[in-house]
Symmetry: C2
Subunit: 237 residues, 2 copies
């Protein structure tokens, strides 16, 4: 029979009991920041968030520490939790990290033994097909999703947990910017073509080509995006 539960915990899903409150708080705050229900620049108090999540301040505080380590917030010594904004300079930094990591990842995938390599190419091709499909239908969100899946798969097949974590972190940081600029993107066909080029190099096992194709893809995307951000005068997002 259901043993008496601690005290708080009013409504959270009752079926499982696997995640700690800290994990709950971390996930909730991360999601809130992603979809901008916590706007950047917003300064929240731990107490308030704790109240909203139906827990005490401690797990919120510890989740805030993790989020700070992830670069999503800053906890100011005696002022509260500040949701970080993204300046164009941050976007530049993030792109350089992506260019570096994803290039190496593509190289590694292209250097995989035959079986794995071809399987990876298969997956990547599928995602590119989905992109082309969405583009044809004018389905921009669908395009963005397939694009994200392509890049996620590329990293995943490189089988390097640290690279995955790094990419996930910068993706979290730049998620809002991507959503915002999705509608401004121009080079959709170019992007698809570049993806094909990457897949081709991977399938052929040409590591150097894969590296260069991946780098070129991201560098072009950056050169397309940064001017847009600057021209819109977006100081933070």
């Amino acid at each position: 029979m259901a043993r008496a539960r601690p005290k708080g915990r009013p409504d959270v899903e009752d079926g499982e009991r696997k995640t700690s409150l800290v994990d709950d708080a971390y996930a909730a705050m991360r999601a809130a920041i992603r979809d901008a229900s916590f706007a950047p620049g917003y300064q929240a108090s731990e107490q308030e968030i704790a109240l909203r999540l139906g827990m005490s301040r401690t797990p919120v505080h510890e989740a805030a520490i993790r989020l700070q380590e992830d670069g999503l917030v800053r906890v100011l010594p005696r002022k509260g939790i500040l949701i970080l904004a993204l300046a164009p300079d941050d976007v530049r930094e993030i792109y350089d990290v992506i260019i570096a990591i994803e290039g190496r990842a593509a190289e590694l995938v292209a250097a995989l033994p035959d079986a794995e390599r071809l399987a990876a190419a298969q997956v990547l091709d599928t995602h590119t097909d989905a992109m082309a499909d969405a583009h044809k239908k004018g389905d921009l969100p669908g395009w963005g999703e397939a694009d994200g899946a392509f890049h996620a798969a590329l990293i995943e097949h490189a089988r390097n947990g640290r690279m995955s974590r790094i990419i996930q972190a910068v993706n979290d940081q730049s998620h809002r910017a991507r959503m915002l600029t999705l509608n401004l993107r121009r080079g959709l066909e170019a992007s698809i073509a570049e993806h094909r080029k990457i897949v081709q190099a991977v399938r052929a096992g040409k590591a150097a080509d894969a590296l260069e194709a991946a780098r070129a893809h991201r560098i072009r995307a950056r050169d397309e995006l940064l001017p847009i951000l600057k021209s819109y005068g977006l100081k933070h997002l």
Copy 2:
């Protein structure tokens, strides 16, 4: 007059009062892990560490969360804090991250405007001189230090905070391995020559050459190190 201090805090440096106990705990544990006074595999209790540092469990717990995020420890739900060991596979992952990030950093430094670029080259040359000097004297620790300074300067001049953080994280993780294998290193002259090559490319502003030189340097180092680790059968360090 000196206001009554909380309670604990018996001996820590009394001159400043800027760092929080969490920061103290974080720094202390990080240092302890670096110099292996916390051996990998060691399982400590937060209570015990708190006692040793003269504080309560809370700051230790929060510091442990940060260290876990950094990949140095794992806090096991009801067992304690586990100091992580480093398997050869981890070294492989770490090297791939370094190859990626440092290559891009070198490229960025070589693309800097003249004044900054030449200043950076100057600094890098100085560090390489120090390496050559230490090598001539047979001063292996000095060589390692100068080598570290070279690579730190390379990243620093790329002016990308996220890259710096990433490199610092993987450096922390692999510090023990570097110390351990320093005595086994062979290609010291090759290393110095490669550094010169990187500096040369940077000074000439040849970004592509700098990227390639930095990559080649790290790839060679990895190919030299990994077999050593495997042959010594070092499963964890």
